[in-house]
Subunit: 345 residues, 4 copies
C-alpha cells in the first residue's frame, strides 16, 4: 500500500531530525526566547526582504489561523473566505469559537477575487450585520489552484482601499511558490499581505508554521494571544530549528519542487490517458476524474481520498504528493493506471 | 553558565529522538489516527490500569488545560483553583478566554483541601454567581509540594459528593510520583480523578502531554474540541511516539527520579548550611532563602529565578532540576554555595 | 407620512401600559422572582398545555436567540438555519460571538425542510468539522411564510431521530398563528419543538419575548445563562406583566389578527391591480413587486423598505402592518396605489 | 411587610409612565434611531458638559458592563476591580464569558486607589499573564461608599499615565452624586473617566442605564457590539424617553436625594441607639450591625438581607432605601427598632 492521502504521512526530512539531534543538549531559555529562534527570525526576515515584519512559530495551521484572526479582529468584525476555505470547512468551527463569523463566498476554483470582496462589502451595511474586516485566502487553495502576482496585487489594493486585512494561509506555500505556473516570491507576499504563514508541517517539518506579520499595527502584544491560546511551546526552539534547517539553504524549495514534480508526472500520465480533472491544479494536490472501476483497482495498492461523485460511473479522487513521495511509487502508480485503463477499453 | 531556570531548557532524551528517527519514513494516517498512537494508548491504559479511560496527546500544558476545561464545562460553570494555580496566574487568561471564571482560593502551600472547596461551594448560591463545577489541582503544585493519597482521596470524595469534576494538572507528574515522600501511583490518579495529564515536555520529551479522561460522560466528542482549539497535530504520531518510548520501560520514572535526586542533593546541602526554604518541596523545584550577596555570587556561574524578597537582606530563589541536570554541575553549585557561605561568616 | 417599515414603530397596546400603571407601586422581589411572573408562567403553561415546560422572559429576539443557542450547545456544536434566518443575517454575529458556527442552507421561501437537514447532516462527518446539533427555524419566516403542522411534524421527527434540538424563533409568532392559512396552535409548538419563543415586542408589548423550553434536559440552570448574558432584568416583572395582559384573554391573538387583516387588505388590493409578489406571504409582512415610479409616488406619503431590485423598472418592497396599523391609513394607501397605477396605464 | 431589600422593588416613578403614555402611538424608527433618543442624547451631553461624548442606552447594569468591557478590550487584556466589584461577584461570570479575566484586588471599603492599581500593574509583567487594561470602579461602591473628587482625579491620572481605561459603574450614581458627602458632578465624571454609566433602573426608571463614552477612540462601531450582545431594543425609544423625563428637570436628583434622606434617617436612628455599622456609607445602602434577636423582630414587619455574621450574637444587615421608600414606613421602622432595643436592655 502506498499513500497519496496527504503530504503529512511521513515524519520529517532527515536533515531536520539531525538539526534537532545536534543541538539537543544545549540549554536555552524557553518559549521562543532562545538564540535559535532569534537566528531563524533574522534568516527569514532576510528571505522575505521585510526587516520590519514580525515572525512567530506555531504547531499547526488551524492554530495559526485561529490565533491570527482572533488577535487581529475586534468582536464585531468578520473574516471573508471562499466557501472552500479551510477555516470555513475543516477547522471544526475554530474561528467561530473565538467569536467571529466567516462570510462564505461561492467560488469556482477556490480563489477569491476583487468582485467577491466588493460584493461582500456591499451586502454588509450596518450594525445589524457583522463588519467584514479580514480577507482570508489560501495559496495554494484547498483545491490546488494558485494566485498570480497580478491577482494578489488586485486583492491587496482592494483590501487596503477598504481597510481590510489580507491574510494568506500558506499551509502548502512551498508547493505554490515552486509551481511551474507561479510568478510570486516570498518578498511579494510580505509586501502584499498584512500577514501570511509559511507552512512547514506539509513540507518536510515534524511540525511547524512560520507566521509573518507585516502590518506593524497588528504586531503589538501578539505573543499574549499565542500564550492565551496554548500555542507558546515551552521548548519553542524545536519549531524554529526546523525552519532554520529548511531555509539556511534551499531545502524548503527543493522539497516542494519534488512534491510538485511527482504530482506533475501523475497529472501528465492521467491527461495522456484522456482523463479530465475537477480543477486545474499546478501544485501537489490533483483531482483527476476516473471511472469508478479504475478507482477500485487503484485502491488495491494505493491510498487516496474519493473526493466527489461526478456521475454514476465516475468520481474525482484527490492525489497528494509530498517531499517524501518516492519516484518508484509514482512510476508504479502510473503503470497501474495505464493497465487498468487499457483493460477497460 | 549553568541553568536551573527550568526543566525544559534542553531538547529531548536521546532515546526519544531515536524513536522518531527509526519510524520517520513510515507512512501513517494523520491527526492521531495512526498505529503508533493506538499502540501508545493501549500501553498507557495498561500502566494506569484503567481500560475505559480515553487518552489524547497535546503539545503543551496550557493547551491541555484550556481544552479540558472548556470541553467539560457549560458556559456558566467555573473552575476552582489555588491562587498559585498555573491556570490562574501563568496562562495569560487562557481559561477565561474560553468563557470560564476561575475561583481563586487562598492557600499556604499550593494545595487545595476539602475545606477550601466546601467554602467555595457555600459562597456560590444562586444564578447571580457562577456555578463551581471543576476542581483544578496540580501535582506537584506550582511550588513543588505534593498530594498524599489520603489527601487526594478526600478531595475526590468531596468532588463526587458535590457533582464536581476533579482535574489534575500533571505537567511535572513524574517528579511527584518519584518523590521520596510520594504514596500515589498512576492507577490511583485514574481512580480518583475525572481527568489528569501526564506531562512529557518537562520530563524529557520534545513536547507532549498525555491527557487521561476517566469519567466516561466527559469522553464524548472530545476530539472535536481538540481540533477546534488547534491541538490536533497533522503528524499526531510525533506526540504518541514519545510517550511510547517513555513508557515502554521505566524511562519516564528514571528521568523524574534523576531530577528529584539532583534537587535533593542541592536541598540537603542548603539545609546543612543552615538556610531555610520558602516551602517544603519534595520534588524537582526548590525555593531556598539565601542572603542576597550569596545569590549574587551564585548568579555568576548559574541561572535561576529570584522568586521573592523575604526581607531586605534575603530572598528566595527557585532552583529547578531536570532529567538532564548534570551531576558535576550540581556538585559545583554546592561547592560554590559552601564557599560563598563560609566567606560570609 | 405613515410608516409600514416595521411592527415596532409604536409603543405598546394601551392595556399593557395600564397594567404597568396599576401594579406600579407594589413591592416585589427582583429578577423575576415575583408573584406577577409566577402567575404569568402558570397562565402560559396552561395556554400551551405543557405543564412541564419552563418559561423565561427576555427583552428582545436577538438576546433570546443567543442565550438559547449558547446555553443548549457544547462548544463544538453548530446550529443549522435557512440562509434568510435572522440569526445568520441580522444579528451582527451574535451566535458566532458565543462561539458557535451556523450552517447556512440555501432555500427558496425562507423555510427549512427535512431534506435540507439530512443533507447538512451528511456533509458533517467527523471532528474536522462542527457537529450539527440544533435546527433553527422562524415561524413566520423572515419573508413572511409559515410552516404547516405537517411540515413541522416532519422536521420534529427528523430532529428527534437525529438527536438534534428544534428551536423556533417566534418573533412574529402571533401573525403566523393568526394567519388564515395556519393550522398550528400553541400546544403543537410545545409538543413538536425543544424550545420556542412567543414574540411580544412585535405584537403590542413595549418589549418582551416569552421563551418556552419543552425539553426538560435543557431546562437545568437556564437562569444562570440569562444572568451571564445580561438578560435578567432587575424589575423582571415588567416583562411578565405584559404577557399576563396579552394572554389573560385573547388580546395577543386579536392584535395579530388585526395586523394580518391589514396586510391582507393591502395584498388583495395589490393583487387585484395585477401586481405580483416576491413570495407568497400569509402574514403581516408582504413583498409586492411594483414599478419603480409607483414606488416613488407611494413614498411621498408612506415609509417602507425597498427590498430588492427585480428588474430595471420594478422592485420589491416590504410592507409591514402591525397591531397599531390604522384602517384609514390602509384605505388611503390602497387608494393611492390604485390612482398611481391608473395614471400609469 | 415593607421591603428594604432593594431599590428596584417598585415599578417606575409615575412621571416616567406618563411620558411613555403620552408618546405611545407616535411612529418612530426602531433601534434607537428615533427623535426621542436623539433629543435625550443632546440633553444628557449638555448635562455632562461633554459634547464629544457618545451616549447609548441599555436595559441593565450587567448588560452594560459586559458590552463595555468586551468592546473596549482586546482578547488578552484584563479588567482590574475591587474584590467586592459587581462584575467579580454578582454577574454570573458575565465578563469572563466574553473572554476577559478580572484581576481581583483586596480592599477594605469597596474602593480602589492608585496603590492598588500600581501593585496590579507591577505583578503583570509579560505575555504569560494577562495584560491589565481597564480599571472598573463603582460609584457608589457595592458597599455604599463613594469616591471623592480628589480620589477620582488620582485614579484618572494614574490610568492615563499607564494607558489604562477608567470605567465607572454608576448603577446607583444618583445616590452617590446626591450624598451629603459628595463633591463630584456629572461633568467631572465625563472629564475623569473613559466611560461611565448613569443608572436608571435603581433610581426610578422601569429599566435603563445611560452609557457615556468619553474617550473618542473607544466610540467607533460601538452599536455593533450592542447589537451582537442583544442589547439594541427594537423599541429603543422606551429607554431614552425615561432618561428624557428624569433629566429634563431635576427629577433624577430629587429621587436620589429622597432615597438618601430615608437612609440617613434610619442611619441616624441606629447610631443614636448605639449600634455600629460594617462600613461608613453615605448613600442609600447601609449595613448596620444589630443583635440577632433585634433582627428577628424587625423581620416580622420588614424585609432586608442578612449581610454577614459579625459574631455569635450580632449580624450586619443590608437596608436599601429608594426613590419610592415611604416616610411613614421609615418612621415605623425606626420606632420598632427603638422599642426592640429598649426591650433588650
Amino acid at each position: 500500500m502506498y499513500s497519496y492521502k496527504n503530504d503529512y504521512s511521513e515524519g520529517a526530512h532527515p536533515r531536520i531530525l539531525n538539526a534537532l539531534m545536534e543541538t539537543n543538549l544545549e540549554q536555552t531559555d524557553g518559549y521562543g526566547d532562545d538564540v535559535f529562534t532569534q537566528k531563524t527570525i533574522e534568516l527569514l526576515k532576510n528571505k522575505i526582504d521585510s526587516p520590519n515584519s514580525d515572525i512567530h512559530f506555531f504547531s499547526g495551521g488551524t492554530q495559526t489561523n485561529l490565533i491570527v484572526i482572533s488577535a487581529f479582529l475586534r468582536p464585531h468584525e468578520a473574516a471573508i473566505a471562499a466557501e472552500t476555505g479551510h477555516i470555513l470547512v475543516h477547522e471544526a468551527g475554530a474561528i467561530e469559537a473565538t467569536g467571529h463569523k466567516i462570510i462564505s463566498i461561492e467560488v469556482d476554483d477556490g480563489k477569491l477575487n476583487s468582485e467577491h470582496i466588493a460584493s461582500a462589502l456591499s451586502a454588509h451595511t450596518d450594525e445589524h450585520m457583522v463588519k467584514p474586516k479580514l480577507v482570508y485566502i489560501s495559496n495554494p487553495t484547498e483545491v490546488g489552484t494558485i494566485y498570480t502576482k497580478n491577482e494578489l496585487e488586485q486583492l491587496s489594493t482592494l483590501c487596503r482601499d477598504n481597510n481590510l486585512y489580507l491574510f494568506i494561509d500558506g499551509a502548502r506555500l512551498g508547493s505554490a511558490l515552486c509551481s511551474t505556473e507561479n510568478d510570486l516570491a516570498l518578498p511579494d507576499l510580505a509586501k502584499l499581505s498584512d500577514a501570511f504563514y509559511i507552512g512547514g508541517t506539509k513540507n518536510g517539518a515534524l511540525l511547524g508554521e512560520a507566521l509573518v506579520i507585516n502590518n506593524e499595527s497588528l504586531q503589538e502584544d501578539f505573543r499574549f494571544h499565542m500564550k492565551q491560546k496554548g500555542a507558546l511551546l515551552a521548548k519553542g526552539r524545536i519549531l524554529s530549528l526546523q525552519f532554520l534547517e529548511l531555509f539556511k539553504d534551499d531545502l524548503y524549495f527543493q522539497l516542494a519542487t519534488h512534491a510538485n514534480k511527482m504530482a506533475d508526472r501523475i497529472k501528465d500520465a492521467i491527461r495522456s490517458l484522456g482523463y479530465e480533472f475537477l480543477v486545474h491544479s499546478p501544485t501537489n494536490q490533483i483531482f483527476p476524474i476516473l471511472p469508478n472501476h479504475v478507482i477500485e483497482k487503484l485502491e488495491e495498492k494505493n491510498q487516496f481520498y474519493i473526493w466527489s461523485e461526478v456521475d454514476k460511473d465516475n468520481s474525482s479522487i484527490r492525489v497528494v504528493t509530498s517531499w517524501a513521495t518516492e519516484e518508484d511509487a509514482v512510476t508504479a502508480f502510473i503503470e497501474d493506471l495505464r493497465a487498468f485503463t487499457k483493460d477497460n477499453r
